[in-house]
Each structure stands twice: as C-alpha cells, then as structure tokens.
C-alpha cells in the first residue's frame, strides 16, 4: 500500500507575474520501505517536489496523500504536527542546531514529542551508535566534520521513528568516503526499521544504491525505474 501518493501535483511560483512551473503535474506513489532517489538536473523541481510531499509547501493544484489523507488541506498547525510525527528531514547543509551537542540535536525532536527521558536516552544512544558518532555525542556541530554532522542529522531525522525520511541532496557536501558510510547507514536503517527513504540527488553514488530512480525534467517525471524489477 502507498505511504505517499501525489496526484497531478502542480506548483507554480509567481502565478500572477512571471509564472515558474516548478512541478508540473506529478503523479506518483511511494510504498513503505522504499529507498528511492529523485534525480534530474538543477532546477528540474526535485527540492520543490520533496517540499510538497514533506508538507513544507502547498501545491497550487493536485493532492498529496499520506496514508490516504490529503495533507494539502491541513492548517499550518496541523501540518507542523504532521511533519513532527511522520517525517524526518535531512538537508544538504546538515542544519544542526549549533548551540546543542550532537546528543541534544538528536534528542530534540523526541523532546518535542514528549518522549520519556529513558526512551530518549535509549533511542539517541542506539541511533548515534548506529551512525558511528556516539563518541562525538557531547560535541557541538562546529567541531564535527561534514560527514559526522550529516550522520547526526540522519540520526535526528530517525529519532521519532518517522514513516519516511526526505533527504534533499544529503551527500552534496560530502567526500566519497563519507558518502559511502552515510549510504551504508541509511540502507541499514531502511532495512532494519523499514523506513521509507526518498532522496533528491545528482550524486551517481546515491543513484547506484537506490532501488528506485525517478527522473524529473522541467517539473515532470520523465522516467520511473524500479531497479529490482
């Protein structure tokens, strides 16, 4: 069954002045446990599409269904709550909270969700150990390497056990070793926790490891390939 489904989704910026069609009628669905890469040249609408299914933007037209619920009709408050409970985000620039340690960054989302201290401690330790940054738990982001920061960011995205993770070019700032490590870890999480992971990327290394490739161009899907199929 589809966890995420977009039905004829459009997103047009500046509709009344100089319209820019960032997403132009995308209909696609993602099943639980998928490991998908959305690829395409810069400006093809990858990030906008991730924002639409992540509830960060509302479509100009069409529907985004999560578990058959149309999230484009949710209020700002409901949307925020929905993101908190259902989605993990990983950003290209890591975007960790600079005044918090690696541990606190990961625990942050769980605290927002009012997990117990014990649950937080267990989950954060598990994730940081899985991401091989447990020894860096007390350090602040500015003392970590790019790869370490991104691993902490992935741990943060997984902290609340979200239904799916949206990763916007997560390897763009990483060297090949860090990229390999990160992809291994995300594969591991995908398999062990059955978390749906959707990347946007130009990175060939990510494309190689993805089980499904969706290629966008000018806001439209031009290719949707299931590698195992």
């Amino acid at each position: 069954m589809a966890v995420i489904e977009s039905i004829d989704v459009h997103k047009t910026y500046n509709p009344e002045t100089i319209p820019v069609r960032a997403v132009d009628g995308i209909s696609v669905s993602f099943d639980a446990g998928e490991f998908t890469a959305i690829v395409g040249p810069s400006g093809c609408g990858k990030t906008t599409f991730l924002n639409l299914i992540g509830g960060l933007e509302k479509p100009t037209q069409g529907k985004v269904l999560i578990d058959e619920k149309d999230i484009s009709k949710l209020s700002i408050r409901e949307m925020t709550d929905y993101r908190l409970h259902n989605i993990g985000f990983v950003f290209q620039a890591y975007n960790l909270i600079p005044v918090m340690s690696a541990y606190e960054n990961v625990a942050f989302i769980m605290q927002l969700l009012k997990f117990t201290k014990k649950d937080i401690a267990e989950r954060v330790e598990y994730l940081l150990r899985t991401m091989s940054v447990w020894d860096k738990r007390d350090e602040r982001p500015n003392t970590l390497s790019g790869g370490q920061q991104q691993r902490v960011a992935v741990a943060r995205a997984l902290a609340s056990k979200p239904k799916f993770i949206l990763a916007d070019e997560p390897t763009a700032n990483l060297d090949s070793k860090s990229t390999g490590t990160l992809l291994d870890l995300m594969h591991h999480i995908n398999e062990t926790e059955n978390t749906t992971i959707i990347f946007s990327t130009h990175d060939d290394r990510v494309m190689e490891r993805a089980r499904r490739l969706i290629q966008l161009d000018d806001g439209k899907i031009v290719k949707d390939e299931h590698k195992g199929a």
Binding site: E57, Q111, L112
Partner: protein, 404 residues
C-alpha cells in the same frame, strides 16, 4: 528545553548580547540614579520640614486655623485627656504659642515667626536643638530673655551670638509690644529660608507678654510613628471636637504634591528610557532572527510549532531584559548605597539647595518597590519588543528560508 535553548542562543553572539545588556543596564542605571537623587531631595525636604518645623501632626483650635488670631488659643488641659488616651502611640508632643513679629537690630530688620516653646518638650519634637551651631539651646543662665535664631537671620540682621535684638509684635489686645532678647543660640538647618524666619523663645517668657493666659497655646505638635499616625489622627479627631487635627501632609500640602510629582516625573523618565530601549531591543532581535532565518525555518520544518518558536524568541528577549535589569539594578543599588551614606556635595548650587531645604549635599535614596517596579517594566518592555521579531519569523515561508 525551550528555556535552555533560548539561554544558549542569548550567548551565541556574546558581544552583541553584552551590548544589549549594557544598553539596558546603563539606561536603567541612569534613570534610577537620577530618580534616586530626586527622591532623596524630596525625602530630605519632607523629613527636614517634619523634623524641624511642622512635625507629624498638629492641633489648633478651629478658629485659629482660619484667621491665626492671637486670641484663638486653647488651654492645654482640654487636650491632655485625649493625648493621654493615645500616649502609647505618641512619641512626643509640645505646646507652642506663635506670633508674627519683626526682629530688629542696629543694622536691619526682618519679619519672623516667633515660637514660644517649652525647651524640653520641643527638644523631643523638633531637631532644632541638634542644629545649634553656636551657643546653646536655652541653657545659659542669663537674666535676659533668650532667643534662638537661624544662621541666615543672624546674617540678615548682621548680629552675632550674644547680641540683643528687639522683637516687636502685637499682643492679644492689639497693643504693639517691644521686647529685647539676647541671642544665646544660633541654629543652621538644611533650609536657609526656614532659618531666616523661625525664631524660638521660651513660652514662659512669651506668654506674659502676649497676654494669652497661662497654659494657653496656639499649637500642639506631635511626633508619631508613620504606622500609628492614622490611628492617632482618627482618635484625636474624634476626641477633640472644635479642634483642627492635621497630619503633616494636610498642614503642608506642597510636600505631598512634590512627592507625587516626583513619582510622576520618575515614571515618565523611565517610560521614555524604556521606549528607547524597546527600539534597541527590537532592532537587535530582528537582526537575530534574520541571521537565524534558515535555522528557524529548519526548526519549523522539523515540527517545532509556532508557539514554541515564539516562546523561544520571547524568552531570549526577556532573558536579555532580565540580565540587563539585574546589572542595572545592582549598579544602581551599589551607587545609591554608596552615595546615600556619603552624600554628593553640590557646592556650586549649595545656596539654592539650602533655600529649598535640601542642604548642600544630595543623598540619593530609592525604595525597594522602585527596583521591583522597574524590573517588571523592563520585562513588559522585552515582551513588547519580542512581538515584532516573532511576527517576522511567522511570516517567513519555511521552504524559502531553507532554500536560502
């Protein structure tokens, strides 16, 4: 969690936060210290007027209050029962006869208020005996009638200790009396105008000349603690029909008006400083949220709701306000305590200050409630100042902030 995050955010840019804290602290310190000086001045005027002149409460006959006729005296015995009833609450009291007179020396003359007093009773009510700078307070064995006058009058009449001056005044029958007195004491209070006008003689000397009758007085003055004042006032007011019982602020309405005006002045001054601070804090916090645009967008993307984001920014602003007001209050407290004990000599305006009854030294003073009120006002200011940055954050599009 929000509190910890806000606290750490405050110290992210230490220099900027310190500048804001110092701006708040110096604004508060400046305002409060000026307020403390003003308050000290007013308190000194009020206190010296109460201590040396009007005391805490006075009683006159109804008629005397209207026309201040010499004849409108009251017998001490009529008041004694009411006084005895409140004896526990009354610290001291003194009966006075009072007449307007002209003091004349070989070199000049000046209008004065002549007060006939009982030396011992008056010593317990007013502080004039402590202010004697030359001679004694009616302690000489001279056969002449003694008079204690202010330093300023001595200068006006160009006389000195031991000089004789002639006082002329009307008695109860309207006859002009001329009586010679020897200056045996010269006092100097913090109010040169008071010193120029108020002269003291013994009531035993004055009453026979005035012919007001033995143990008949124009005025009874009382020292009563602040806490007991209203109670004694009510009791005496009830016990003594036909008498005008007045508390110090009813006798000298200017004193209370000055005090109220000074409170208003302080409030307006604080308000102006706080309004200026609001703009400073708004400016800083707008810079802060603009700098952290992407981070705040990320927090919202992760699921931190607007209420929590708003709470965090409000807390950051309030923390700056709290730290600023603590520093400002501590600086003020130390300065007010230091100068409150030692005083600030203001030699160049000494004469003017003395004319107003403040002496030549300013003693800053500030009540605890002022510190509390100011701190609360700063918190309100910080809350108001945080509205604008919070609104700015809420208006930002999350996806756009993340793209940037």
């Amino acid at each position: 969690m929000i509190g910890r995050l806000a606290w750490r955010n405050v110290w992210r840019n230490r220099l900027r936060s310190l500048v804001v804290v110092l701006a708040i602290a110096s604004g508060l310190f400046g305002t409060l210290f000026v307020a403390a000086i003003s308050r000290g001045m007013i308190i000194r005027i009020v206190q010296s007027t109460i201590d040396n002149d009007i005391s805490d409460l006075q009683i006159h006959s109804d008629k005397y209050v209207i026309s201040e006729e010499l004849i409108d005296v009251f017998p001490q015995s009529q008041l004694q029962a009411a006084i005895d009833k409140n004896a526990v609450l009354i610290d001291a009291y003194s009966f006075r006869v009072k007449v307007e007179a002209m003091a004349t020396s070989a070199n000049g003359s000046h209008q004065v208020t002549l007060l006939g007093i009982d030396k011992d009773a008056e010593s317990r009510v007013t502080g004039i005996h402590d202010l004697v700078v030359e001679g004694t307070y009616f302690d000489t064995k001279t056969k002449l009638k003694e008079i204690c006058v202010g330093r300023k009058l001595v200068e006006e009449l160009e006389v000195r200790l031991g000089s004789k001056i002639v006082l002329s005044f009307a008695d109860v029958e309207g006859d002009i009396m001329y009586e010679s007195f020897k200056i045996t004491g010269i006092y100097k209070s913090s109010n040169s105008e008071f010193d120029k006008i108020n002269t003291y003689v013994l009531s035993d000397d004055l009453i026979p000349i005035l012919k007001t009758g033995e143990s008949n007085y124009h005025e009874a003055a009382f020292r009563i603690s602040e806490s007991a004042l209203d109670q004694v006032y009510s009791s005496l007011h009830e016990e003594l029909p036909g008498y005008e019982v007045m508390r110090w602020f009813e006798i000298n309405k200017t004193l209370r008006a000055m005090s109220s005006m000074m409170d208003l002045f302080t409030f307006v001054m604080v308000l102006i400083v706080l309004i200026a601070l609001i703009f400073g804090v708004i400016n800083t916090m707008l810079m802060v949220v603009m700098e952290r645009r992407k981070e705040l967008g990320m927090l919202r993307a992760l699921g931190m709701n607007n209420f929590s984001i708003g709470r965090m920014i409000v807390l950051e602003t309030v923390l700056l306000g709290i730290i600023g007001s603590i520093v400002g209050n501590v600086l003020t407290y130390i300065s007010v305590s230091w100068f409150g004990d030692r005083g600030i000599k203001y030699a160049s305006a000494a004469e003017g200050l003395e004319q107003m009854g403040m002496g030549d030294t300013l003693y800053p003073e500030l009540g605890a409630y002022t510190y509390i009120a100011i701190t609360l006002l700063v918190l309100v200011t910080a809350l108001i100042a945080s509205i604008f940055p919070v609104r700015r954050v809420f208006r930002q599009n999350i996806a756009e902030t993340l793209r940037n």
